[in-house]
Amino acid sequence: MIFAHPTYRPGPVVWAANIAATCVVLFAFQRILWLVIPFVLALLIYYALLPLKLRLVLRGRSHDTAAAWVSVIAFSLMGALLLIGLPSVVGEAVSWQESAARYLDGGLHLLSNLLKQLEGRFSLFAKAHVSRALSQEVARFSAHFAEKYLPAIAMGIASWSPSLLLGPFIAFFMLRDGWRFRRFLIRAVPNAYFERCLNLMSQVDRTARLYFVGLMKLTLLDTCCLAGGLWLIGVSAPLLLGVLTAVLAWIPYIGSILGCLLVILVAATDFPSDPSVVYAALGLFIVVRLLDDFIFMPMTVGKSLNMHPLLTVLMIFVGGAVAGVPGLMLVLPVLGIIMVLGETIGQLLTDRRLRARHKHAQALQHRLVMRDLELP
């Protein structure tokens, strides 16, 4: 007799548990955000460096040596870039401030012009004096900006910098000891569940790897498209703008809006008398977003999660409601991993044969240890 192991399909209970668990995890993440952000950064570094480490291991180096070599080379490069770049960044900070003010003025000028045009065409806007109200609000905001917001921003940067430095540190230990930790966990699993757990770990690892590698590929594709398009239109610093908007797109919805605003600000400042460039930049941004949602995303990140689009969108809203911006960013990878975990736990709990095998192994163990304890 062959014991049938029917194909397992998670039911509504498992799905509800997955969604509830995702919300709980996101809520907990919000409480320890200072650790979650460096951990996510460490995961990005880890998955970027892992193929290099694997190559060294397969060339006969030990895991420790390979991790050390890869980390030393990568972190030296990062350190060198920081050392070279930091003085020029600090040197140009003043000009950046001027540029920021200039771009903000350019954006406000564009907005003011638009509102004036609307006031000229619609009496409702003219009666409300929208343009004047906006100018007053902006003047009030600019007057108190430094005293109100700058200390909080400076404190935020000061408090986040040390925790961000944790990222490379965690990444190094993930590279060096990740495989040992995996084995350590696997060793604790009873024989009956061993293969299923190997499968589970492999799937979790694959989901996380595909997600983070997909995210990096998506960022590269977005950067190339945006930078290329902006360069063709003639907007200044297209590469920097492309990188910034692509990175901002990591935050669903809000990031895209911020990126769009940034592109419009720069285009409006570079060409104050030519609104067609602004419209072209806006059009480019919309085209890239559409490409992103319908072609790039399914090709890169979407593949890793294998989720229904409706569920994806709903979960993004739930993530945002539960944990704000970090929730928006983390909800999809967290749900992806919890789905794999939930499915496997559901599979283990409903498989009576595996449980019976585990009990049998325990009975054998019990018999073995009791062998010479029983009196004749």
Binding site: L54, R187, E195, H360
Partner: protein
Amino acid sequence: MKWFARSPRNRYRHRLAGSDLFGKLSDRDLRTVEGFLHYRSYLAGEVVFDAGEIGQALYIVLTGKVAICLPGKIDRPLAELGEKEFFGELGMLDDIARTAQVRALLPSEIAVLYRDDFEKLMQAHGVIASQIALELARHLGRRLRQMLLQQGRAAEQ
């Protein structure tokens, strides 16, 4: 990190070196492969895997003895495998259900090569993976010849 650092790898290296599957690998290649293996201990009578289960791993007997049998027919095993022999290769190669049950006859130490790890080996170190794949192919060929011979004898009788 020493508290989870030490696995019984060195203890089994010479056994792996003499195994049917890894016997032709150099010491350096063997050390590479060791990084991808898991080690399990089974009590006498314990089930390693069941017939009908979807398996994705190949098992190499390091110490002890296992029996391949139809479920519930441990007294009439299809085959008995001892040290250095391996089983479960079809599960590792393809997504098919295990065709028989495997039980430990004696307390056994078994090394396990999981499919994903074998694929990593194939992607990144073709030489080692091709040597293992060649041994697997030879093993499957030998088994096919045995089956044909048995069928021929049965037909003659």
